[in-house]
Every structure is written in C-alpha cells, then in structure tokens.
Amino acid sequence: MPMNVPFSAARIRDEFPVFRHHPDLIYLDNAATTQKPLAVLDAERRFYETANANIHRAAHRLGSAATDAFEGARTRIAAHLNAAHPDEVLFTRGTTEAINLAAHSWGRAHLRPGDVILLSTLEHHANIVPWQLVAQATGAIVKPIPLDADGTIDQRAFLSLLTPAIRLVGLTQCSNATGVLPPLAPMIAAAKAVGALVMIDGAQGIAHGGVDLQALGADFYAFSGHKLYGPTGVGVLWARRELLAKMPPWQAGGEMIDRVSFDGTTFAEPPFRFEAGTPPIAQAVGLAAAMDWLAGHDRDTLLRHELALRERFEAGLVQLDCIRVLSASAPRGPITALAFDGLHPYDVAQFLDGYGVAVRVGQHCAGPLHQALGLNGSLRASFAAYNTEADVDATLAALATTLEQLA
C-alpha cells in the first residue's frame, strides 16, 4: 500500500528508537545489520506479552494464539515474497543457516562425485563455504565464476562454464561488499537451460527493492531478518514445494517428526520437516512485522531514495583525493565500497567513528572478491531507508577532515 504522503527520510528515521538514544549517530553500516522500527519491536513484545506459548499441538487458547501468530507470519512473509505457497517458507536463524540447510539437505542427498557447483566470485562466505563442505563430503567440485576487470561477473566465462555437469549455480542478488547487482534474469535462465538449480543469496537484495519469487525463477532463495529491519535470530530459506518434497531432513528433533521409536523414525512434511525443535517464534512474528512495515511504504520510492544517497555520496567523493569507488560504473545497490591510496581503511573508519559515522572495513566476508580485486580490505558505506541527505553530507565532511588528519 504505497502511501499518498510524500516520502520523508526524516519521518522514517523517527520510527527508529535507536536514533532517539543516539541522536547524532550516522549509521552507514546497514549491510551488516539494520536498525529496527518501533513496529517491529512492538510486534515482538506484543507477542511475548499476549500470545506467548509453544506452537503446534497446543490444547489451549494461548497455544492457538501463538500458533496462529507464527503460521500467520509464515503466510504473510510468503505473500510479501510472492511465493506460490506458505509451505515454501522455512524459518531458519538467518541467511547462513538457510544456505547450510540447502547444502546439507539437498546437497548431500543429490550431489554425486564429479557434479559441479558454480559460484560467483562475488559471493559472501555464507554462499561459498557450505558448498565447499558439501563438495568435500560428496565428491562434487566447487568452481568459481571469475570477475571482469570492473568487479562484475564475467558473463562470457559464466556461459562457457555452464555444462550439464553443473548441478547448482550460487549467485548473490546484490554483493554485500561492493553492491554489484548481477544480471540475475539471464543468468538464472542460462543455468536452468543446462538443468542446474539456482540458489540466490538475497541477504542484501531483499532489503533494497525486495523480490518476486515467482518472477525470479530461482530454486532456492535465502535471507536474514536482521538485515531487513527485523529481529536477529530469524531468516528464511525459500524453495519450491516440489524441491522441498524431495529433500531429506537435516536437523532432527521435535516438530519435524511423524513418529519416533528406537526401531525407526518417520518425518513430517515440509515445512515442518525442516524446522526441528522450537523455532524462533517471536522473531518470525517480528520478521513478518518488518515486511509488513516495508510494504506500508512504496518500495520503489525507498530504493530510489537509497540510490540517490549513494549518488550524492559518490558525487561528493570526487572532491577528495586518493579515494577509489569499487565497481564504480557497474549496476549497484545502495552500497559504496572504497579503497584508499596509501591509507588503511581501518584508520579512516576509526576517524569517522570519532565523528559519529559508523561504516565497516575489512573484507566483509567476501574474501575471494577481495583477492580478485587485489585488495586486503575496503571501507563500506551502506544506505538504508532512514538515512538522510544530511547523513551523507556530514559523512563527506568527516571524510575530508579524516583525510587531512591522516595526510
């Protein structure tokens, strides 16, 4: 429901209590985790205060209320993702566990020696290491898709790597380190054409513009609540029903079981087969509230705002020396990654922190990308809906002073 009031980042910022406690905070570390709006904090608290019980099979009204809250969250999240069915939404701790679930369950059941898993060099470690481990266990092979000189995925190399031995292609919707947006539509189509499944790491992409899963055409999609204005401790693995039906359980325990005896155990249907034990109930409710909150805004307007902040920031950088924007001319989400000539990004970040500007430095869990770019690390500024033009201008000023201090 886009609202008719004109967009105002300042008004959005007012919905985030953290800025009441830190009024001068310029928080540009949104790709690491976002702040939480009141609507999310209240939804979680309301759950605990009015409907807290364990879910499923409860013979009391509080248990029904909890179950309805949790399964209602699943249904609403499925709708926000435009998934074909709520049962395709599995609750996990976050993106990392979601990808581990896919790798352990699908991978160990379906990968054979010589099968190839193709991963872009842009990937976050969460979309690399689980596949390396499952490859070790099954004899499959992990191959990287190399990058072009500008840090985007080399499309010719990708196409030439696509063979029928490819069983899965892993792609990020948006690089968490540089913001680069791979051309998902043609890449997914090409992967499907050789019969490969496609895992999309949506950890960053979903926060900026969202996703339409039925339009996307991928097989797996993973994201985290805490990067989407939602709570920590919850995330989602989405997969098509037909695919989930063929996947064995991974973690085991209560809720995912049909019948247990010491002679043998049978397992429940998806999604329950993949949700062993008590799930993050209050957090799922909080995540649904975060997605409802986002849906209360026009997503395109939010994304345009975030991209405009990035533009403004990068335009301002031109005035400053010895700074380079990584993948500057590539299609990117609202993330700016910087490298400095002769300066350590950590030192820059320390000075910025002194001026109240929170950015992140390091390899951002994207080791192979940094190796490919020939960098030890970079400094990342990432924008969210509550960031303002004033944030950008203050950051530019702080950066200018920092460069003087470090000259």
């Binding site: 499923h56 013979a59 248990g63 029904s64 399964e71 429940a268 329950f272």
Partner: protein, 149 residues
C-alpha cells in the same frame, strides 16, 4: 469407497442439519457449554465399526486419533467418522453435518472453515501441523472434486 447403509447410518447431515446445529451452538454460550455440546454430539454419533477403524481410514496428525470414511451414492457424498476423543468426535459430527448426504451442487460455495469460525469454533482450526479438522475437510472437498468430473 464403501456403500450405504452401514457405516453411513448416522443422523448428521440428514436428520440433523447445519441450521439445527448452528442454533444449538449459538445457545451454548461460553467455552464450557460449547465443550459440553461437542461431547453431547459425540454421543449422538454412532461408533464406526471396528472393521473400518483401520490405518486406511485413519487421519494422521491429530492430537487424538480420528477415522474418516468417504463414500458416494446417487450423486451424494457420504461420510462417516469417529475419534477416540469425544471433543474431536463432536467436531467430526459438525463436519458430517456439513457434508454427509449432500450433492456437489448443494455444497457449491460452502466453506466449512468459515462456518466453524461463524460458530465461534475457530480455536479448533488453529493452523497447526496436520490439523485434523482442516485436513479432513480438505479430504472431503477433494473427494467431491473427484466425483464432480
């Protein structure tokens, strides 16, 4: 699919119709009265013969055990059911009332779950794994869809 009579000889859906039940439920104010009424309905539903209390007719995933037998005669859906829980058996009486002895045409547009909600019984529909009532109403709707072809 089995044939009529036995095990399809029970009053729900034929001698007792939806309106009659709705009236009784509306008269039952509060949970205690509703629970009591469900137990009463369970008494009015004859037990399913042992020969039909088989795994084939068993509905998995209920907190209690339930059995559901679906048949068809002269274009009408036939259904019988039982449970080892009286409350569940009372709910099954509601299910039978809604479907048993009816033609697909009569059932067009009928939404069992909405009906339960209107009777104040949404609590028994709680989205839950293998929820018995939902699962059974779905099984009946699938049987109807099948013989409408």
């Amino acid at each position: 699919m089995s044939s009529y009579p036995p095990p399809f000889d029970h009053p729900f859906g034929t001698r007792i119709d939806r309106d009659a039940l709705a009236q009784r439920l509306e008269a039952a104010a509060g949970w205690e009265a509703k629970n009591r009424l469900l137990v009463q309905l369970a008494r009015e539903l004859p037990p399913l013969p042992d020969a039909l209390r088989t795994d084939e007719h068993r509905v998995a995933g209920c907190e209690s055990t339930a059995w559901l037998v679906i048949g068809r005669q002269e274009g009408r859906l036939l259904a019988a059911a039982d449970s080892d829980s009286r409350i569940v058996k009372g709910l099954l009486a509601l299910l039978l009332t809604a479907y048993h002895g009816h033609t697909p045409a009569e059932l067009a547009g009928f939404d069992f779950e909405a009906w339960l909600v209107s009777l104040g019984l949404q609590r028994f529909l709680t989205t839950s794994r293998g929820n018995g009532l939902r699962a059974m109403s779905r099984m009946i709707r699938e049987a109807i869809a099948e013989f409408s072809h």
